[in-house]
């Protein structure tokens, strides 16, 4: 008996079609706002996962690149009239440049020291941008000039139009991850993540691999930063270099499934859905409830399911397949 198998590509096509059609069907601004958040934080999680998940370099400072991306495109737009579409990639380039010295410093450290050093780098950048009053508006920040419907300047009348940018970013991020996962680099990354000394002993140049993947991760994170400020029309150091960005990037990957292709997406869906539910139940009056729940979920995952939600789903799927196989065998035997 051959079971009819639907190939993965078809599933992916189906998922893509649903996601593309979603804003045409669901028109509530509240819902679209949530979709955009889910796509954007999935993408940031995917970017974090490259260095944090596969290579297990647990960065808590990805806000550094998010902020550099956001500030680069905003400065180019407001001071020089350059489109954020170009500014986005300029921001990515700036983030890559910044990741070199930051990486050179932080990659000398392991485990918790690496995490602490990355926190410090993001904080230093935030404190510096608070001081840059002349070209970066200091602590007050600035609003992005509203140009009405200007697609060439990444501004749209329809909220739904914004949806497609993080969707495209997420598709790119997942495609890059998929490619890397199956390349020699992916295997090197996992080897480094498992045991860096052992990887080096068999000839993996750990420092070079970590540097390269950090460049990619920083670049992608910066793209998210540009989109975010264009979407909320405002930038200041507290928003752009927010510690919460660094935290959420790591959180969604760990909750979903660290070092897996879809982990960050699944984690973001769960956390953002929880957060949206909480908001509709309690209103936004209760400050702190969202992160309280997030941290409880994180503690639960760490204590009971370190492979994340994806591990839970896989186990459940395996059990169903196993059970139905047993049942089939029983009917055949019987």
């Amino acid at each position: 008996m051959r079971r009819l198998r639907i190939p993965g590509v078809l599933w992916l096509g189906l998922l893509g079609a649903v996601l593309l059609a979603l804003p045409l069907v669901v028109t509530s601004r509240f819902a679209i706002d949530i979709f955009i958040r889910v796509l954007l934080f999935s993408f940031i999680g995917v970017a974090w996962n490259l260095i944090g998940g596969y290579a297990k370099q647990l960065s808590l400072g990805h806000a550094a690149y998010f902020g550099l991306g956001a500030y680069t495109s905003t400065i180019l737009q407001i001071r020089f009239g350059i489109s954020p579409w170009i500014g986005m990639f300029a921001g990515g380039a700036v983030a890559m440049l910044a990741s070199l010295p930051i990486g050179a410093l932080c990659f000398r450290l392991r485990g918790p020291y690496f995490a602490i050093a990355t926190i410090a780098t993001a904080q230093v950048l935030m404190l510096l941008f608070l001081k840059f009053r002349d070209f970066a508006w200091g602590a007050e920040g600035t609003t992005i000039p509203n140009l009405g419907n200007a697609p060439l300047m990444m501004q749209f009348d329809a909220k739904a139009a914004y949806y497609y940018i993080p969707l495209g970013l997420l598709a790119i991020g997942l495609a890059i991850t998929y490619r890397i996962e199956r390349s020699w680099m992916g295997y090197y990354l996992v080897a480094i993540g498992e045991d860096e000394d052992a990887a080096e002993a068999i000839g993996v140049n750990a420092l070079r691999i970590k540097r390269d993947i950090y460049l990619i991760s920083a670049f992608l994170t910066a793209l998210a930063g540009t989109f975010y400020v264009q979407y909320i029309y405002f930038i200041d150091p507290q928003t752009a270099f927010s510690f919460n960005i660094s935290v959420e990037a790591a959180l969604v990957s760990i909750v979903g499934g660290i070092g897996t292709l879809w982990g960050p997406v699944i984690g973001t869906v769960l956390l953002e859905a929880t957060s949206a539910l909480l908001q509709s139940w309690l209103g936004s009056s209760l400050g702190g409830i969202q992160l309280t729940v997030y941290s409880l979920i994180l503690i639960a995952v760490i204590l009971w399911r370190p492979t994340g939600l994806l591990g839970v789903l896989k186990d459940a799927y395996a059990r169903i397949v196993h059970n139905s196989a047993l049942a089939k065998k029983a009917t055949l035997d019987g």
């Binding site: 647990l58 904080q123 790591a250 309280t292 503690i299």
Partner: protein, 289 residues
């Protein structure tokens, strides 16, 4: 100029005493249990709220509430080790880092939910008192906090070097396997180490209250300072953490005095990054891995 400089050094040393209590706690847990406790600042915050409510409801002086905050935090520490940290030991970096990190987020946001973001202060007769020693200005509350912080650090040192439990702790820190062979029960030693460490954080909270407002985020500054001081003073080294904390206090204070009021943290972070770049094993040497 010389007076300004000396005054900045005095201010830095006085607050450095509080940093030392937090840093010694971090370094003690790290040395014995091999965990970096990202939530240490939140236990300072809990100590502050305990002190605040005792003062607010029952009019108990912050210094007297040391007798409450320290034992309460000690018990929280024993429970923390027994129910949470124990379960992630030996599981790799991710669970070890993110367990205490999640705990830090949890406590901070629970405090925000329960107590709101309002700053809470306790006014004591000595809160605004100060005296001059020559041209130098000494606020009494900070001086008391510094003095008691040094006394507590001294008691800890005596505890580590003269009592059986203290010696067991140092043994477990240096060679855990051998310590176990010598009949040291690691679970008990770990529980006491985390308990003592949190008791110090609680003490820091109580000592801060007469001159520093409590808020859900209040612990953040102290834990960042502690991380820098602990890296600077070599992880797991109590004396190193003490000296480095006093240095951090002075560095921050000089930054505020000579670069600008909001530059204290930049100076501290830059010190951390420079230390990591040039002396990743800390000033006292030894393994930083």
């Amino acid at each position: 100029m010389v007076t300004t400089l000396a005054q900045a050094v005095v201010n830095g040393l006085l607050i450095g005493g509080i940093y030392a209590l937090v840093s010694i706690g971090v370094t003690l847990i790290f040395g014995v249990v091999k965990i970096v406790n990202f939530a240490q600042g939140e236990f300072v915050m809990i100590g502050m709220y305990i002190t605040y409510f005792l003062a607010d409801r029952y009019g108990i002086d912050p210094l007297l509430s040391l007798a409450v905050s320290m034992p309460v935090l000690f018990l929280i520490g024993v429970a923390l080790q027994h129910f949470l940290i124990r379960r992630v030991l030996g599981l790799g970096d991710m669970p070890q880092i993110f367990l205490t990190f999640a705990l830090s987020l949890l406590l901070m946001n629970l405090a925000l939910l329960l107590f709101t973001a309002n700053y809470r202060t306790v006014q004591t007769p000595y809160s605004d008192a100060a005296f001059y020693f020559g041209p130098l200005y000494f606020p009494v509350a900070k001086l008391i906090a510094f003095g008691l912080a040094m006394v507590l650090s001294g008691i800890l040192w005596i505890f580590l070097h003269t009592t059986d439990m203290g010696k067991a702790m140092r043994a477990a820190a240096q060679k855990p396997e051998v310590a176990m062979l010598m009949g040291i029960n690691p679970d008990r030693v770990f529980c006491v180490a985390v308990g003592v460490s949190l008791a110090l954080a609680g003490a820091a909270g109580s000592l801060l209250m007469p001159f520093y407002p409590a808020s859900p985020m209040a612990g953040q500054v102290f834990v960042l300072m502690a991380f820098v001081a602990v890296v600077l003073g070599t992880l797991g080294n109590v004396k190193g953490a003490l000296v480095a904390s006093l240095m951090m206090g002075v560095a921050e204070s000089l930054g505020i005095q000579f670069v600008g009021a909001d530059s204290g943290l930049i100076v501290v972070f830059l010190m951390l990054l420079l230390t990591l770049a040039f002396r990743p094993t800390g000033l006292a040497g030894g393994g930083a891995r």
